[in-house]
Assembly symmetry: none
Homo-oligomer: 219 residues x 4
DNA sequence: CATGAATGAGCATTCATTCAT
DNA sequence: AATGAATGAATGCTCATTCAT
C-alpha cells in the first residue's frame, strides 16, 4: 500500500514511481474529462477533479500547474490523436475509396463505441476555444491535421483516376471534417432517434455518387 | 408622439415607452450577444453586459430576470428563427432541387453576411447546453424544426420524382443540418482560408450527384 | 489510523488540528454572536463576522456552509442548552420548591453574569423566527424542552403535596417561561433601572404565595 | 374618480383630499404591517408595501420619507397606544384589584381578537430595536408608559389597603409587563396548544394569591 | 401630484491557487 | 512529496431611494 519502501532501505525504485506517476496523471485526466463533460469547463472545479482522482488538491497541482493545462492536455492527448489514428488504421486500405470509406466507418464506430464522453469533450473544448487562445490553437491544429490527411486521401483518388478529376480536395476535405464534427455535436446533445447505421450508408452513398464517376456501384 | 395628452384625456405614455423598452431590450441582447461571444456564457458578467448596453445593472434586471434568461432569449430570437426564415425565403422556389439549393445559398450567405456573431453564439449555446437543460431543449427544438423543414423538401423531391427514390429523408436532412452546423463551427473558430464560394459549389455538386438520378447535370 | 508511518514517525497532526478547528469554530461563533447582537441577523455581514474572527471569508465557509447555519448553530449551542443546564444544576435540590427557586436564581444570575449577549441573541433569533422556519423550529424546540422540565418540577410539587393541588402545571410552566423570556427581552433592550435583586425576591414571593398553600414559610 | 376637478374649475376640495390622504396613509400602514409581519423588517421591500397598498413607489414616498419611518409610525400608532387604551378602558373599574384584573382581561382578549399581526409586529419591532436607536427609543417609551400605568394601579391598591403593603410597585409592574410581552412572544411564534382561558385564570389566581392578603378570595 | 424606470452600492457565496506543516 | 486549510477577488442579484416625464 505504501508508495515508499517495502523494506527498510531501498532508496529508489524509480520505475514504479514513474509508472505510478503516469497512472495518476491518467486518473487525473479521466476525472477531469468526466467532470468537464458533466459540468463544462468553467463549472468544473479543481476540488471535484481532485476528489474524483482520489488525490488531494495539492497533489493534483504537482501534475498540472493550472486548470487550463488539464484541458489543454486532454485536448492534445484525447482529441488531438484522431488524425494519427486515422492514418494508422487506414494504412493498409486498398485504394482511395476504400481508405475513405474506412474513415467513415472509423468515425461512425467511434461515435458509438469510444468513451462516450469524447464527443462531449470536443464540444466543451469548442466552447472554451472562444475565450482561450491556447485551446483555440489546439483545435485549429487538430483541424488542419485532419485536413491534411483527408486531403491526401482525396488527392490520391483524383490522381489515380479513381475519383472525378474536378474535385477540390481542400474544400471537400474541410466539408467532410465539418460534417463529422457537426454530427458529433448533435450526437452529443440531441441524438434522440438518429440511426447510426442508416447515417453511415447515406454518407457513403452520397460520397460515392459524387466521387466515383459514372457507371454504377453500391457499397 | 407626445407622451402626454393630445386632447382631452391623459392617454398616458405607452407608445414611446413601448418603443423605448423594445429598443433597450434589443440593446441588452446586442450587448449580451457580444459579451457571450467574446467570453463565453460563464465568463460573461452581468456588469459588462450592462455597461455595454449603457444601462445600470439594476435597469438591466428590469428586462431580464436572470442571466440565463438573456441567453435563452438570444437562443429563441436570434438562433431559433432560422427554420422559419428558411421556410419563408424558399417559399416560391420552383421544385425541390431549387428549394434545396436555395437553402444552401441562404446558409452560405448567412455565414458571411449575418451578424457575424451569430455563428459564435450558436457555439456558445452548444457549450452551455451540456449543463443547462433549458438551453439544451432550445437547441433540440431548433434542430427538430430545421429537420422537419429539410425533410419536407427532400420528400417533395422524391415524391415528384425529381430525386432518387431510395433516399432516406430523415437521415439526409439530419446530415445536412449537421454539415451546416459543423461548417458554422469551424467557421467560427478557425476560418483561416476556407473559400466560401468554392465550398458552396462543392456542396451543391455533391448533393446534385447524389440526389438527381442519372443522365447529366452540372451546376 | 495514521496515514503516515506506523511507529515512531510523524503522527500526522490530527490532535492539534482538531483543537484548532474547535477553537476557530468557537471564535467564529463568538464573532457571529457579537455581530448578530450588534446588527441583527439580516444586517450582519459575513465579511464582518469573518474579519472579527480574524479569518478570511473563504476560511469561514469551511466551518459553516451558510450564514443561516451560523445562526442555527448559535441557537443550538448557546441558547438551546438552557433546559439541560437547568436540569443539571437543579438536580440535587431538595424538594420542588427548592428546585423551583433554584431555577429562578439561575435565571436571575444568568441575566447578569452570562455572556451578556445571550439575551440579545435570543431576541435576534426571535426576530428571525418569523421568516426562517428552521430558526422557528429551533426556538419552539427550546420552548418545549423548557416546558417539559418546568412541568415536571411543578408536578413533583403538586404530587408531593408541597404545592396547591389545583395548579395546572402546563399553564403555569408556560407562564413562567414567558415571564423569563419577557424579562430577558426588556433587559436586553431597556435595562435602565431594573433592580435584579428586587426582581428576584418579588418573583419568588409571588410564586410562593401562589404555590405553597397556607400557613407560613420562608425560602 | 379623479381627485381634481369635477367640472372644469373647482380649485380646491381640500376636505376630500385630506380624507383620501389619511385613507391612503392607513392603507400604507396596513400593507406595511402585513409585510413586516410576514417578512420581517429587513426583508420587507418598499415595492411590496407599495403594491399591496395599490400605490406606486413614488406615491408611497410622498407619505413616508423612508422605510424606517413607516416602521416608526407603526410603532407609535399601532403599538404605542396600548397604555392609553388600558387607561381608558379600565377607567371606571372599581378598586385596584378590579382594575388589575380588567387589564389582564384586556390583554388576554387582545391576544385573541386584535388584528393577529399586532403581536408579531411587536416582535419585529423588538428585533429591529437592536439596530435602530429610534425604534429602541419607541419601545422604551412604550415600556415606561405602561410601567407608569401599572405602577399607579398597584400603588392605588397598596395605599387603599386592598393589596399587601410590602409590595414593590415598580418591580411588580415591570414583571407584569414582561410577562405580557413574553406571552405575546411565544404566542406569536409557537402557540400550538396554549389555552388562553386557562392561562387567564392562572394569571389571576397567582396575582390574587400574591396581592390580596389573607382570608379568602374569589376571582 | 403620480408614476415607475433607473441607479449602484452592497452582500452571500465560490473557487483557483498557494503554502505551512 | 502530500495534504488540505487559507486566501480574497470576483460575481449574480437586490432594493432603498431618486427623478424625469
Amino acid at each position: 500500500m505504501s508508495e515508499r519502501s517495502l523494506f527498510k532501505g531501498v532508496p529508489a525504485l524509480p520505475k514504479v514511481t514513474a509508472q505510478h506517476k503516469e497512472t495518476r496523471r491518467q486518473s487525473i485526466l479521466d476525472a477531469a474529462q468526466a467532470v468537464f463533460v458533466d459540468k463544462g469547463y468553467q463549472l468544473a472545479t479543481i476540488d471535484e477533479i481532485a476528489s474524483r482522482s482520489r488525490l488531494s488538491v495539492g497533489a493534483l497541482y504537482r501534475y498540472f500547474p493550472t486548470k487550463s493545462d488539464i484541458m489543454l492536455t486532454l485536448l492534445e492527448e484525447r482529441l488531438g490523436r484522431t488524425p494519427e489514428l486515422f492514418r494508422r488504421l487506414s494504412a493498409d486500405a486498398d485504394g482511395a475509396w476504400q481508405r475513405l470509406s474506412l474513415c467513415v466507418d472509423l468515425f461512425v464506430r467511434a461515435l458509438r463505441i469510444r468513451h462516450p464522453g469524447t464527443g462531449r469533450l470536443l464540444l466543451v473544448a469548442w466552447g472554451e476555444a472562444l475565450q482561450d487562445r491556447t485551446v483555440r490553437l489546439g483545435l485549429q491544429h487538430r483541424f488542419s491535421d485532419l485536413l491534411d490527411y483527408m486531403m491526401s486521401v482525396i488527392e490520391e483518388g483524383t490522381v489515380s483516376g479513381e475519383f472525378r478529376p474536378d474535385i477540390d480536395p481542400a474544400v471537400l476535405a474541410s466539408l467532410l471534417i465539418s460534417l463529422a464534427d457537426g454530427v458529433t455535436l448533435s450526437w452529443s446533445i440531441a441524438t434522440p432517434g438518429v440511426d447510426v447505421r442508416r447515417m453511415r450508408s447515406t454518407m457513403l452513398a452520397m460520397l460515392r455518387a459524387y466521387l466515383v464517376p459514372a457507371p454504377s456501384g453500391e457499397e
